[in-house]
Symmetry: D2
């Protein structure tokens, strides 16, 4: 459908170190979750309340994943611009499960580090497009041992050495 927009903007901190996985074709994913929270004053009781929300993030592509591998860790504060995606998988008993993630892959998706402290700086933006994950319907809610989307050049095509933003190269520190 032309004329649609799917955008998620989050600022929050990682609860744990990211997990990095490599596909058969050399592509990479980084998975982690970040917390956002909001607070408000309850109308009835007048008490302050707070609620924390955890978001699952999946980042594809060597470049951005490389940045994450090196600079993002438990506690890091990130600005994330991705898209909402739900994927279906089966648990070991064959039950259908659905996981909704914020995916950084392809145009219009970004990640910026917001820590002012030591390991800060960095950031990167996905290259011009690249193969989409298509369908990764695997067990246990993970991305299994599948090839990611297309063939062996997909990830590197996305933000390889000819990319406009040579992520591995452009990180200013």
């Amino acid at each position: 459908m032309a004329g649609s927009v799917n955008k998620v903007i989050l600022i929050g901190n990682l609860g744990k170190d990211p997990e990095i996985r490599t596909f058969g074709n050399g592509g990479k994913v980084a998975n982690f979750s970040i917390a956002t929270s909001e607070s408000w004053r309850d109308k009835q009781s007048g008490e302050k309340r707070e609620k924390t929300e955890w978001h699952n993030i999946a980042v594809f592509g060597e470049g951005l994943v490389g940045v994450i591998e090196r600079y993002v860790k438990k506690g890091s504060k990130l600005y994330i611009e991705g898209k909402l995606q739900t994927r279906k998988w089966q648990d070991r008993d064959g039950n259908d499960k659905y996981t909704t993630e914020v995916v950084l892959q392809g145009p219009g998706t970004t990640l910026t580090m917001l820590d002012s402290a030591g390991g800060q700086g960095g950031g990167g933006r996905m290259g011009g497009g690249g193969s989409q994950g298509g369908g990764y319907n695997q067990d246990r809610g993970g991305y299994g041992n599948m090839d990611q989307g297309g063939g062996s050049r997909s990830a590197s095509t996305m933000e390889g050495p000819k990319g406009d933003f040579d992520l591995d190269d452009d990180i200013p520190f």
Copy 2:
């Protein structure tokens, strides 16, 4: 946590008419899903591919829900600005299930109708704050027959007659 942001921006069309439910306290929810899609050209095959994503939307509060009741239907194109929320519920077998939704409730959440044709117009923005849903852990993934969050005035407090944007009133048609 101060310093976090949780924002989802979607433009898409409804797959079906919205479902409206009323809570014991008089509050209302509208539930519906909207589709976004993206297309790209596959690197290997050179073929065009397209993928549609469905997003579950939950809108709380009389005012906005009133707008939806009257003007939003299957096929309507909407601009939505909400927040990501995952809630846990149990199916009839007692299994834990998780549903991630785009929630419109409280400040910074909006809905705008983008159809230029007939039933168009409208739009509205959530009032200044209001009670948060807190926890609505019910069966079957629905919002059941619970009170929503706080007490009996929560929904109407959110955007009631004293609200700055009297939604029921300000819709310019």
Copy 3:
């Protein structure tokens, strides 16, 4: 026009301390500018280039301005969600001048502090609505000595003691 959106999202640092002004009616504005920058690699030369952009921010309303007065200063890093507005004014020679600003006033506008260091914390969101600035066409590009928009209660109505987010009160520190 129903069906329009005007939203600016910025993350950047203040170049100088904010300037706070009070209107005749007791309303307040905070003015400051924040820098964003982007870097890229030049296609021809292969050199890295960087460009910094300065954005003029105007925040209206006692609550948010109070937060700024107390916690925001030169160097602070902010997340800002506002709207684009251009106002016309005359310089001392009577020439028409135009200034485009990112305005935080009314629904859907927010400010969050992103500094992890000392003077951090805070944040706030504009209340449910409130009078709009309407027209403040004054000399020297400033907001002069005019009343802001409506009458004497406009600013306080916007996020006064009855507001859902009593900003002066809810800042968690």
Copy 4:
């Protein structure tokens, strides 16, 4: 500065047909303005008020400009994701002037057509990066007859025939 974000999201209609210009190097710009408006109820008088804001848009790059040339015209409704930029120029009397525009150039900038009627569809996203405008300080507030930023390949590199989103090609109508 790493860690900054500069993003503008607009939905509105064009007041006039776009103006397309070609640079010496073959690059192209499309300039047009779109209106957004907001309405609110005045606190004092209780009257409805409305205010329209006009935004200057500048789109660089053959691909997107080609889409605009063919499908965007007076009255079209667009979703735009760009960045805020202010440029300085001199009028014929040598006076400094500043123009703030929403620029679509490089990663993270997009345009989607939202008209449901006849000439609808389309959309496109800027490629991976590309030369930045750098400085185009010319008279009359226009982009004059300068080369745009880099050399003759900048625009086509940005979203040329090898681009992931072959804009000229992918428009589904």
